[in-house]
Protein backbone atom coordinates (compact mmCIF):
# COMPACT_ATOMS: atom_id res chain seq x y z
CA UNK A 1 0.00 0.00 0.00
CA UNK A 2 2.84 2.37 0.87
CA UNK A 3 4.44 1.75 -2.54
CA UNK A 4 1.15 2.33 -4.32
CA UNK A 5 0.47 5.61 -2.53
CA UNK A 6 4.06 6.77 -2.99
CA UNK A 7 3.82 6.24 -6.76
CA UNK A 8 0.43 7.96 -6.76
CA UNK A 9 2.05 11.21 -5.57
CA UNK A 10 5.62 10.94 -6.85
CA UNK A 11 4.48 10.41 -10.46
CA UNK A 12 3.68 14.15 -10.50
CA UNK A 13 7.41 14.79 -10.93
CA UNK A 14 6.90 13.73 -14.57
CA UNK A 15 3.84 15.92 -15.09
CA UNK A 16 2.91 19.55 -14.78
CA UNK A 17 3.95 19.86 -11.11
CA UNK A 18 7.58 21.01 -11.63
CA UNK A 19 6.36 23.69 -14.04
CA UNK A 20 3.72 25.00 -11.63
CA UNK A 21 5.99 25.13 -8.57
CA UNK A 22 8.78 26.67 -10.65
CA UNK A 23 6.48 29.44 -11.80
CA UNK A 24 5.41 30.26 -8.23
CA UNK A 25 8.63 29.79 -6.22
CA UNK A 26 11.38 30.06 -8.90
CA UNK A 27 14.70 28.82 -7.46
CA UNK A 28 13.02 27.69 -4.22
CA UNK A 29 10.60 25.34 -6.01
CA UNK A 30 11.98 22.37 -4.03
CA UNK A 31 10.60 23.93 -0.83
CA UNK A 32 7.00 23.62 -1.99
CA UNK A 33 6.80 19.79 -1.87
CA UNK A 34 8.50 19.89 1.54
CA UNK A 35 5.91 22.33 2.92
CA UNK A 36 3.08 20.45 1.20
CA UNK A 37 4.39 17.25 2.76
CA UNK A 38 4.29 18.84 6.22
CA UNK A 39 0.67 19.98 5.69
CA UNK A 40 -0.25 16.50 4.45
CA UNK A 41 1.35 14.85 7.47
CA UNK A 42 -0.74 17.03 9.78
CA UNK A 43 -3.89 16.04 7.86
CA UNK A 44 -2.92 12.34 8.09
CA UNK A 45 -2.49 12.60 11.85
CA UNK A 46 -5.85 14.37 12.31
CA UNK A 47 -7.65 11.78 10.17
CA UNK A 48 -5.89 8.93 11.96
CA UNK A 49 -7.04 10.31 15.31
CA UNK A 50 -10.64 10.55 14.06
CA UNK A 51 -10.61 7.06 12.56
CA UNK A 52 -8.99 5.47 15.62
CA UNK A 53 -11.38 7.09 18.05
CA UNK A 54 -14.70 6.73 16.24
CA UNK A 55 -14.47 4.41 13.21
CA UNK A 56 -11.77 1.85 13.82
CA UNK A 57 -12.98 -0.72 11.26
CA UNK A 58 -14.39 1.46 8.44
CA UNK A 59 -13.26 3.40 5.38
CA UNK A 60 -14.42 6.88 4.44
CA UNK A 61 -17.41 5.94 2.25
CA UNK A 62 -18.49 3.22 4.70
CA UNK A 63 -18.54 5.88 7.44
CA UNK A 64 -20.72 8.12 5.28
CA UNK A 65 -23.14 5.24 4.62
CA UNK A 66 -23.23 4.29 8.25
CA UNK A 67 -23.98 7.78 9.55
CA UNK A 68 -25.42 9.96 6.78
CA UNK A 69 -27.89 7.56 5.17
CA UNK A 70 -28.18 6.48 1.51
CA UNK A 71 -29.13 9.84 -0.08
CA UNK A 72 -26.27 11.93 1.30
CA UNK A 73 -23.85 9.03 0.81
CA UNK A 74 -24.93 8.71 -2.83
CA UNK A 75 -24.36 12.44 -3.41
CA UNK A 76 -20.95 12.41 -1.68
CA UNK A 77 -19.93 9.27 -3.60
CA UNK A 78 -20.77 10.98 -6.88
CA UNK A 79 -18.64 14.00 -5.86
CA UNK A 80 -15.68 11.78 -4.90
CA UNK A 81 -16.06 9.65 -8.05
CA UNK A 82 -16.25 12.77 -10.26
CA UNK A 83 -13.10 14.10 -8.65
CA UNK A 84 -11.22 10.86 -9.38
CA UNK A 85 -12.58 10.71 -12.93
CA UNK A 86 -11.50 14.31 -13.64
CA UNK A 87 -8.04 13.57 -12.22
CA UNK A 88 -7.76 10.41 -14.36
CA UNK A 89 -8.94 12.21 -17.51
CA UNK A 90 -6.59 15.17 -16.96
CA UNK A 91 -3.57 12.95 -16.35
CA UNK A 92 -4.50 10.76 -19.33
CA UNK A 93 -4.57 13.82 -21.58
CA UNK A 94 -1.28 15.15 -20.21
CA UNK A 95 0.50 11.83 -20.68
CA UNK A 96 -0.99 11.25 -24.12
CA UNK A 97 0.07 14.74 -25.23
CA UNK A 98 3.54 14.24 -23.76
CA UNK A 99 3.91 10.93 -25.57
CA UNK A 100 2.84 12.29 -28.96
CA UNK A 101 4.93 15.46 -28.68
CA UNK A 102 8.07 13.60 -27.61
CA UNK A 103 8.24 10.04 -28.96
CA UNK A 104 5.28 9.29 -31.25
CA UNK A 105 4.69 12.53 -33.17
CA UNK A 106 2.80 10.91 -36.06
CA UNK A 107 0.39 8.85 -33.95
CA UNK A 108 -3.13 10.23 -33.41
CA UNK A 109 -3.83 11.12 -29.81
CA UNK A 110 -6.87 8.85 -29.58
CA UNK A 111 -4.68 5.83 -30.44
CA UNK A 112 -2.24 6.68 -27.63
CA UNK A 113 -5.11 7.48 -25.25
CA UNK A 114 -6.95 4.30 -26.29
CA UNK A 115 -3.91 2.11 -25.52
CA UNK A 116 -3.48 3.92 -22.21
CA UNK A 117 -7.09 3.35 -21.22
CA UNK A 118 -6.96 -0.36 -22.17
CA UNK A 119 -3.91 -0.85 -19.91
CA UNK A 120 -5.45 1.20 -17.10
CA UNK A 121 -8.81 -0.62 -17.19
CA UNK A 122 -7.04 -4.01 -17.28
CA UNK A 123 -4.89 -3.15 -14.23
CA UNK A 124 -7.89 -1.72 -12.35
CA UNK A 125 -9.93 -4.81 -13.34
CA UNK A 126 -7.35 -7.01 -11.62
CA UNK A 127 -8.26 -5.31 -8.35
CA UNK A 128 -6.66 -3.33 -5.58
CA UNK A 129 -4.35 -6.14 -4.47
CA UNK A 130 -2.96 -6.49 -7.98
CA UNK A 131 -2.39 -2.71 -8.23
CA UNK A 132 -0.64 -2.74 -4.84
CA UNK A 133 1.57 -5.70 -5.84
CA UNK A 134 2.46 -4.12 -9.19
CA UNK A 135 3.30 -0.90 -7.34
CA UNK A 136 5.49 -2.84 -4.91
CA UNK A 137 7.46 -4.21 -7.87
CA UNK A 138 7.47 -0.89 -9.73
CA UNK A 139 8.56 1.37 -6.86
CA UNK A 140 12.22 0.21 -6.72
CA UNK A 141 12.47 0.62 -10.50
CA UNK A 142 10.89 4.03 -10.19
CA UNK A 143 13.26 5.16 -7.41
CA UNK A 144 16.35 3.80 -9.16
CA UNK A 145 15.17 5.53 -12.34
CA UNK A 146 14.73 8.88 -10.61
CA UNK A 147 18.14 8.60 -8.91
CA UNK A 148 19.77 7.56 -12.20
CA UNK A 149 18.12 10.45 -14.01
CA UNK A 150 19.39 12.86 -11.37
CA UNK A 151 22.91 11.43 -11.26
CA UNK A 152 23.36 11.10 -15.03
CA UNK A 153 22.93 14.86 -15.34
CA UNK A 154 25.64 15.51 -12.73
CA UNK A 155 27.94 17.11 -15.29
CA UNK A 156 25.18 19.63 -16.10
CA UNK A 157 24.53 20.68 -12.50
CA UNK A 158 25.05 24.33 -11.67
CA UNK A 159 24.33 24.67 -7.92
CA UNK A 160 24.45 28.45 -8.25
CA UNK A 161 21.09 28.25 -10.08
CA UNK A 162 19.48 27.36 -6.72
CA UNK A 163 20.26 30.87 -5.47
CA UNK A 164 18.73 33.12 -4.21
CA UNK A 165 17.74 30.66 -1.52
CA UNK A 166 14.18 31.96 -1.03
CA UNK A 167 13.49 32.16 -4.77
CA UNK A 168 10.54 34.45 -5.46
CA UNK A 169 10.07 35.20 -1.74
CA UNK A 170 8.41 33.57 1.24
CA UNK A 171 4.83 34.80 0.51
CA UNK A 172 4.94 33.37 -3.02
CA UNK A 173 6.30 30.06 -1.73
CA UNK A 174 3.52 29.84 0.87
CA UNK A 175 0.74 30.65 -1.63
CA UNK A 176 2.26 28.29 -4.18
CA UNK A 177 2.38 25.56 -1.54
CA UNK A 178 -1.27 26.06 -0.62
CA UNK A 179 -2.24 25.87 -4.30
CA UNK A 180 -0.26 22.71 -5.02
CA UNK A 181 -0.64 20.68 -1.81
CA UNK A 182 -3.45 18.77 -3.46
CA UNK A 183 -0.97 16.59 -5.35
CA UNK A 184 -0.89 14.60 -2.10
CA UNK A 185 -3.98 12.68 -3.13
CA UNK A 186 -2.62 9.67 -1.22
CA UNK A 187 -4.59 10.87 1.81
CA UNK A 188 -8.09 10.56 0.35
CA UNK A 189 -7.16 7.31 -1.40
CA UNK A 190 -5.87 5.93 1.90
CA UNK A 191 -9.09 7.04 3.65
CA UNK A 192 -11.10 5.14 1.05
CA UNK A 193 -9.07 1.93 1.01
CA UNK A 194 -8.48 1.89 4.78
CA UNK A 195 -10.85 -1.04 5.22
CA UNK A 196 -8.87 -3.03 2.61
CA UNK A 197 -5.48 -2.66 4.30
CA UNK A 198 -3.99 -5.61 6.17
CA UNK A 199 -4.72 -3.83 9.45
CA UNK A 200 -6.77 -0.57 9.45
CA UNK A 201 -4.64 0.61 12.37
CA UNK A 202 -1.72 0.88 9.91
CA UNK A 203 -3.41 3.97 8.47
CA UNK A 204 -0.97 6.31 10.22
CA UNK A 205 2.15 4.32 9.28
CA UNK A 206 1.15 4.00 5.62
CA UNK A 207 0.07 7.65 5.40
CA UNK A 208 3.24 9.01 7.00
CA UNK A 209 5.61 6.74 5.08
CA UNK A 210 4.03 7.35 1.67
CA UNK A 211 3.95 11.12 2.26
CA UNK A 212 7.59 11.22 3.37
CA UNK A 213 8.84 9.06 0.49
CA UNK A 214 6.89 11.08 -2.08
CA UNK A 215 8.07 14.39 -0.58
CA UNK A 216 11.68 13.23 -0.72
CA UNK A 217 11.39 12.08 -4.35
CA UNK A 218 9.66 15.29 -5.48
CA UNK A 219 12.09 17.56 -3.60
CA UNK A 220 15.14 15.66 -4.90
CA UNK A 221 13.88 15.81 -8.47
CA UNK A 222 13.15 19.54 -8.18
CA UNK A 223 16.58 20.32 -6.70
CA UNK A 224 18.29 18.57 -9.62
CA UNK A 225 15.85 20.03 -12.14
CA UNK A 226 16.63 23.54 -10.92
CA UNK A 227 20.37 22.91 -10.90
CA UNK A 228 20.06 22.09 -14.61
CA UNK A 229 17.40 24.49 -15.87
CA UNK A 230 16.94 28.14 -14.92
CA UNK A 231 13.49 29.01 -13.53
CA UNK A 232 12.60 31.00 -16.65
CA UNK A 233 13.27 27.88 -18.72
CA UNK A 234 11.71 25.46 -16.22
CA UNK A 235 8.45 27.46 -16.32
CA UNK A 236 7.99 26.55 -19.96
CA UNK A 237 8.85 22.83 -20.01
CA UNK A 238 5.75 20.64 -20.01
CA UNK A 239 7.57 17.29 -19.72
CA UNK A 240 10.37 17.83 -17.18
CA UNK A 241 11.57 14.24 -17.01
CA UNK A 242 11.91 14.01 -20.78
CA UNK A 243 13.72 17.35 -20.92
CA UNK A 244 16.15 16.22 -18.24
CA UNK A 245 16.68 12.79 -19.86
CA UNK A 246 17.38 14.36 -23.25
CA UNK A 247 20.35 16.36 -22.06
CA UNK A 248 22.18 13.36 -20.55
CA UNK A 249 25.61 13.35 -22.15
CA UNK A 250 28.33 11.39 -20.36
CA UNK A 251 30.83 10.53 -23.06
CA UNK A 252 30.12 8.87 -26.39
CA UNK A 253 28.14 5.88 -25.13
CA UNK A 254 25.91 7.51 -22.53
CA UNK A 255 23.71 10.02 -24.22
CA UNK A 256 20.09 10.34 -25.36
CA UNK A 257 18.84 7.80 -22.78
CA UNK A 258 15.27 9.11 -22.76
CA UNK A 259 13.87 5.90 -24.29
CA UNK A 260 14.82 4.02 -21.08
CA UNK A 261 13.10 6.56 -18.89
CA UNK A 262 9.97 6.70 -21.02
CA UNK A 263 9.24 3.07 -20.07
CA UNK A 264 9.35 4.05 -16.40
CA UNK A 265 7.33 7.18 -17.08
CA UNK A 266 4.50 5.31 -18.82
CA UNK A 267 4.44 2.44 -16.26
CA UNK A 268 4.12 4.89 -13.37
CA UNK A 269 1.35 6.74 -15.21
CA UNK A 270 -0.61 3.52 -15.74
CA UNK A 271 -0.33 2.66 -12.03
CA UNK A 272 -1.49 6.15 -11.03
CA UNK A 273 -4.49 6.14 -13.37
CA UNK A 274 -5.43 2.58 -12.37
CA UNK A 275 -5.59 3.66 -8.72
CA UNK A 276 -7.72 6.74 -9.42
CA UNK A 277 -10.05 4.80 -11.74
CA UNK A 278 -10.47 2.01 -9.20
CA UNK A 279 -11.19 4.58 -6.46
CA UNK A 280 -13.89 6.21 -8.63
CA UNK A 281 -15.55 2.84 -9.17
CA UNK A 282 -15.19 1.96 -5.49
CA UNK A 283 -16.80 5.22 -4.34
CA UNK A 284 -19.78 4.60 -6.63
CA UNK A 285 -20.05 0.92 -5.68
CA UNK A 286 -20.22 1.65 -1.95
CA UNK A 287 -22.36 4.77 -2.40
CA UNK A 288 -24.99 2.99 -4.51
CA UNK A 289 -24.71 -0.48 -2.97
CA UNK A 290 -23.36 -2.28 -6.01
CA UNK A 291 -22.52 -5.89 -5.16
CA UNK A 292 -19.42 -5.79 -7.44
CA UNK A 293 -17.50 -2.99 -9.13
CA UNK A 294 -15.55 -4.67 -11.93
CA UNK A 295 -18.28 -4.52 -14.62
CA UNK A 296 -18.43 -0.72 -14.39
CA UNK A 297 -14.69 -0.23 -15.03
CA UNK A 298 -14.89 -0.32 -18.88
CA UNK A 299 -17.63 2.35 -18.85
CA UNK A 300 -15.68 4.56 -16.43
CA UNK A 301 -12.50 4.03 -18.46
CA UNK A 302 -14.36 5.06 -21.61
CA UNK A 303 -15.72 8.11 -19.79
CA UNK A 304 -12.18 9.12 -18.76
CA UNK A 305 -10.81 8.53 -22.25
CA UNK A 306 -13.58 10.56 -23.91
CA UNK A 307 -13.39 13.22 -21.18
CA UNK A 308 -9.64 13.53 -21.71
CA UNK A 309 -10.23 14.38 -25.37
CA UNK A 310 -12.91 17.02 -24.68
CA UNK A 311 -10.49 19.97 -24.03
CA UNK A 312 -9.54 21.54 -27.34
CA UNK A 313 -5.78 21.60 -26.72
CA UNK A 314 -2.98 20.90 -24.24
CA UNK A 315 -2.66 24.58 -23.28
CA UNK A 316 -6.24 24.55 -21.99
CA UNK A 317 -5.46 21.50 -19.83
CA UNK A 318 -2.22 22.93 -18.43
CA UNK A 319 -3.27 26.54 -17.90
CA UNK A 320 -6.89 26.16 -16.81
CA UNK A 321 -8.04 22.64 -15.97
CA UNK A 322 -4.93 21.57 -14.08
CA UNK A 323 -4.68 24.86 -12.19
CA UNK A 324 -8.39 24.94 -11.28
CA UNK A 325 -8.44 21.30 -10.20
CA UNK A 326 -5.33 21.78 -8.05
CA UNK A 327 -6.58 25.03 -6.54
CA UNK A 328 -9.89 23.57 -5.38
CA UNK A 329 -9.18 19.86 -4.94
CA UNK A 330 -8.32 20.45 -1.25
CA UNK A 331 -12.07 20.68 -0.63
CA UNK A 332 -12.42 17.01 -1.59
CA UNK A 333 -8.99 15.69 -0.59
CA UNK A 334 -8.62 17.30 2.83
CA UNK A 335 -11.81 19.12 3.88
CA UNK A 336 -14.32 16.41 2.92
CA UNK A 337 -12.68 13.58 4.91
CA UNK A 338 -11.96 15.76 7.96
CA UNK A 339 -15.32 17.56 8.13
CA UNK A 340 -17.18 14.40 7.06
CA UNK A 341 -15.59 12.25 9.77
CA UNK A 342 -16.08 14.95 12.40
CA UNK A 343 -19.78 15.37 11.52
CA UNK A 344 -20.24 11.60 11.27
CA UNK A 345 -18.80 11.22 14.77
CA UNK A 346 -21.55 13.49 16.09
CA UNK A 347 -24.38 11.55 14.43
CA UNK A 348 -25.96 8.24 15.47
CA UNK A 349 -25.72 5.14 13.22
CA UNK A 350 -28.17 4.99 10.30
CA UNK A 351 -27.17 2.50 7.66
CA UNK A 352 -25.73 -0.95 7.28
CA UNK A 353 -22.01 -1.63 7.23
CA UNK A 354 -20.80 -4.47 4.99
Amino acid sequence: MTAMLTILVAVHSFLNYPRIVSSSAYEAAWMEPVLSGVISLVVVLILDALFRRYFSNMGLVEVFRDRFGPVVTGALSVVIALYFLVITATIMREFSENVITTVLPNTPIYIVGGLFVCAVVYVAFCGLEAIARVSFLALPVFIVGIFALCLFTINQWKPVLLLPFWGSGVPNIVWGTLDSTTIFSNIIVLCMIRIHTHDPKEFRTIGIKSTLYATFILALFLVVYHMVFMPQEANKLTSPMYSLARIIHIGRFFQRLESIFIFMWVSAAVVKMAITLWCAAYALSVGFNWPVLRPILPALGLLCFAGSLLPKDMAFVLDYLDVIVWKWAWLIEFALPMVGLWLAALLPRKGRVV
Binding site: P298, A299, L303, F305, L310
Partner: protein, 57 residues
Protein backbone atom coordinates in the same frame (compact mmCIF):
# COMPACT_ATOMS: atom_id res chain seq x y z
CA UNK B 1 -19.43 8.87 -41.35
CA UNK B 2 -18.28 5.23 -41.73
CA UNK B 3 -15.23 5.94 -39.57
CA UNK B 4 -17.49 7.47 -36.94
CA UNK B 5 -19.71 4.41 -36.79
CA UNK B 6 -16.69 2.10 -36.81
CA UNK B 7 -15.19 4.04 -33.89
CA UNK B 8 -18.46 3.81 -31.99
CA UNK B 9 -18.44 -0.01 -32.04
CA UNK B 10 -16.31 -0.34 -28.90
CA UNK B 11 -18.25 2.31 -26.92
CA UNK B 12 -21.45 0.59 -28.03
CA UNK B 13 -20.15 -2.78 -26.85
CA UNK B 14 -19.19 -1.23 -23.48
CA UNK B 15 -22.66 0.35 -23.29
CA UNK B 16 -24.38 -3.01 -23.84
CA UNK B 17 -22.06 -4.72 -21.34
CA UNK B 18 -22.79 -2.07 -18.70
CA UNK B 19 -26.53 -2.21 -19.33
CA UNK B 20 -26.37 -5.99 -18.85
CA UNK B 21 -24.71 -5.34 -15.49
CA UNK B 22 -27.54 -2.95 -14.59
CA UNK B 23 -30.17 -5.51 -15.63
CA UNK B 24 -28.46 -8.16 -13.52
CA UNK B 25 -28.72 -5.86 -10.50
CA UNK B 26 -32.34 -5.03 -11.32
CA UNK B 27 -33.11 -8.75 -11.21
CA UNK B 28 -31.61 -8.79 -7.71
CA UNK B 29 -34.04 -5.95 -6.73
CA UNK B 30 -31.21 -3.41 -6.44
CA UNK B 31 -33.13 -0.72 -8.30
CA UNK B 32 -31.13 2.36 -7.22
CA UNK B 33 -27.87 0.56 -7.99
CA UNK B 34 -29.23 -0.44 -11.43
CA UNK B 35 -30.38 3.12 -12.16
CA UNK B 36 -26.96 4.53 -11.29
CA UNK B 37 -25.31 2.01 -13.61
CA UNK B 38 -27.70 2.97 -16.44
CA UNK B 39 -26.74 6.63 -15.94
CA UNK B 40 -23.01 5.82 -16.14
CA UNK B 41 -23.59 3.69 -19.26
CA UNK B 42 -25.55 6.45 -21.04
CA UNK B 43 -23.08 9.14 -19.98
CA UNK B 44 -20.04 7.24 -21.24
CA UNK B 45 -21.73 6.48 -24.57
CA UNK B 46 -22.84 10.11 -24.99
CA UNK B 47 -19.43 11.61 -24.18
CA UNK B 48 -17.64 9.09 -26.42
CA UNK B 49 -20.13 9.85 -29.21
CA UNK B 50 -19.58 13.61 -28.83
CA UNK B 51 -15.80 13.22 -28.95
CA UNK B 52 -15.78 10.93 -32.01
CA UNK B 53 -18.33 13.19 -33.71
CA UNK B 54 -15.95 16.12 -33.17
CA UNK B 55 -12.98 14.10 -34.43
CA UNK B 56 -14.51 12.58 -37.57
CA UNK B 57 -17.27 14.93 -38.69
Amino acid sequence: MIRFFASMLIPLWIFVYTIQFGRWMQKKKLNIAAASVYVVACLSLAVAGAVFWKVYL
